[in-house]
Amino acid sequence: MLKIKDLKASINGKEILKGINIEVKEGEIHAIMGPNGSGKSTLSAVLAGRDNFEVTSGTVEYKGIDLLELAPEDRARSGVFLGFQYPVEIPGVSNVNFMKTAVNEQRKHRNLAPLTSAEFLKLMREKMEIVEMDKSFSTRGVNVGFSGGEKKRNEIFQMAMLEPSLAILDETDSGLDVDALRVVAAGVNKLKRADNAFIVITHYQRLLDYIVPDVVHVLYNGRIIRTAGKELALEVETRGYDWLIKETENENQ
């Protein structure tokens, strides 16, 4: 589904990603871990199409198409979803309107008729249940006055509405208490299917107690320094990152 090859990206001339290689197949959950400043958020932003990063080399192939060529909205319409680490507040735009516009733009892209108000509200009710979101949130401004946990639930709710093929969740666990974490993780697990894939970016192993990854990558200083199964996450949890970093440095010498 997704093939990232030798991806390099920089911001203001400073190289952040120094050659990333990842391949994600349908039905897989990948976790990307790494210490602060390793490039995790840059990777998700580049995949979603933020234009303040410059891709200097490499390719990203998504379902056989060149993802980097697409505008952010076209990536989304093709089924790529980014769950933000810091979801943006948009005062004055209600959650209902926001989602209705998004869902119908996506449907238009797929040559489907727009949902009627009744169909849309039914869909919205179903999906809000997945993340145990109170229906009063639907009329409120997007993320306005939401707590950290509510914002993250809203991200998962939006993901449920848009049913992406590839969801990239950028530190969705940051700032969550255990209850919110469980709700968010349960939401992801409910949405997992054989034909979609998740990339879960996280600083801690905690989230991976609830969302079990097939593959774990450790990102450090713009490179993937280790790729292994879910046991790697547990090892990082007990031993930290330093031993991995040292091993990598020794290998390089």
């Binding site: 505008a71 952010p72 909205e73 989304a76 979801p87 943006v88 948009i90 309107n97 516009t101």
Partner: protein
């Protein structure tokens, strides 16, 4: 009869197409300053002044249930500079809902200077909406002298959708204790349009409250001037007065000049003012795009969100919905042709 002298003047309601038709509303027309039909009802009266202008009176203790809509427009029947004065009296203990609309119905150049004197008497409750939709050859200045007596409430929302040079001046006097004045304004300008808003909010008596919220969206080379002053007299203790002016600039060459001023002579007051100008929030645009909403649509959503704060203050739900729709079509650039009349001449 010479053909060249013949002037076709069909009935106004046939030509003019009101885009905010409301239920339960009396519609009247003021054509080039002249009221076309006088109305005398039990609860209110709307009559001509000796020359141009109108005189609206809501009788004492009356609460007309209908909205009164006064549609004022200019057309090619009168091309000189037009000056006229109208009066609106909302008598003691009465209430009213008034919608004033201004339009231009032919592509000629117009210059209009209008004065509206509004008296809101003791205990009265007046809700006004002024909608301006004029073409790019229209210069229109309106001076509103608003006098509010004790226990009275006055609320005005000004939605300025279109016009080459609009000047709105508000001289508000809170002349009685416990009176209330609320001004809300939304202006949308583009091309070389200018809009100038001047407010003098005078708290002449204690225990009064006023609030002002003016927001504008500016594109191309347009300009907005805002000069707002709150004056609190020496003995006007327990005054609450707030003022805010926020501007969203869509282009590098749009300009806004804001001049908020406070003159406070009393010492026990709550007053605030603030003026800002900003651009579209790139992060919010990206967030919307990452959900599949196209860039242009995301920009429109953000502008509507910005305008929403002012539109939501309109109490009449139906009117609020209509004006929101008009605001949206204006922001989508659908006002480049005149759509207020059925003549399709421009």
């Amino acid at each position: 009869m010479k053909i060249s002298n013949y002037k076709y003047s069909p009935d106004i309601p046939e030509v003019f197409r009101c885009r905010v038709p409301l239920a339960n509303t009396i519609q009247t027309y003021v054509v080039n300053g002249l009221l076309s039909e006088e109305l005398v009802a039990e609860q209110y009266s709307l009559v001509r002044k000796s020359c141009a202008g109108f005189d609206l009176k809501v009788n004492k203790e009356s609460q007309p249930d209908q909205n009164i809509q006064i549609i004022s427009f200019r057309n090619s029947e009168y091309l000189e500079k037009l000056e006229f004065e109208s009066t609106i009296n909302v008598a003691e203990g009465s209430s009213c809902k008034v919608l004033l609309c201004t339009h231009t119905l032919s592509m000629d150049s117009f210059e209009t200077n209008e004065v509206i004197n509004i008296d809101v008497e003791k205990g009265a409750d007046a809700k006004f909406v002024l909608m301006q939709n004029e073409h790019n050859q229209s210069k229109h200045s309106i001076l509103l002298n608003i006098n509010i007596q004790e226990e009275a409430k006055f609320k005005l929302s000004v939605i300025s959708l279109h016009g080459e040079a609009l000047t709105n001046e508000f001289e508000c006097n809170l002349n009685g204790e416990n009176s209330y004045c609320e001004l809300n304004g939304l202006y949308l300008v583009d091309g070389s349009q200018t809009i100038s808003t001047k407010v003098n909010m005078r708290h002449n008596k204690p225990n009064c409250k006023s609030s002002q919220l003016f927001k504008g969206i500016l594109d191309n080379n347009s300009k907005a001037l805002f000069s707002g002053k709150i004056v609190v007299a020496k003995d006007s203790q327990k005054t609450e007065a707030y003022q805010a002016n926020h501007n969203l600039l869509l282009s590098k060459s749009a300009k806004v000049y804001a001049q908020p001023q406070l003159e406070i002579y009393a010492d026990d007051v709550k007053c605030s003012h603030g003026a800002t100008s900003g651009r579209l929030d790139e992060m919010a645009l990206f967030y919307m795009r990452s959900r599949g909403i196209g860039r242009e649509e995301a920009k429109i959503l953000q502008q509507l969100a910005f305008a929403y704060d002012v539109l939501e203050k309109i109490s009449n739900e139906e009117l609020r919905a209509r004006l929101s729709d008009l605001t949206e079509s204006r922001l989508r650039g659908e006002f480049s042709h005149c759509s207020n009349c059925s003549m399709n001449c421009c």
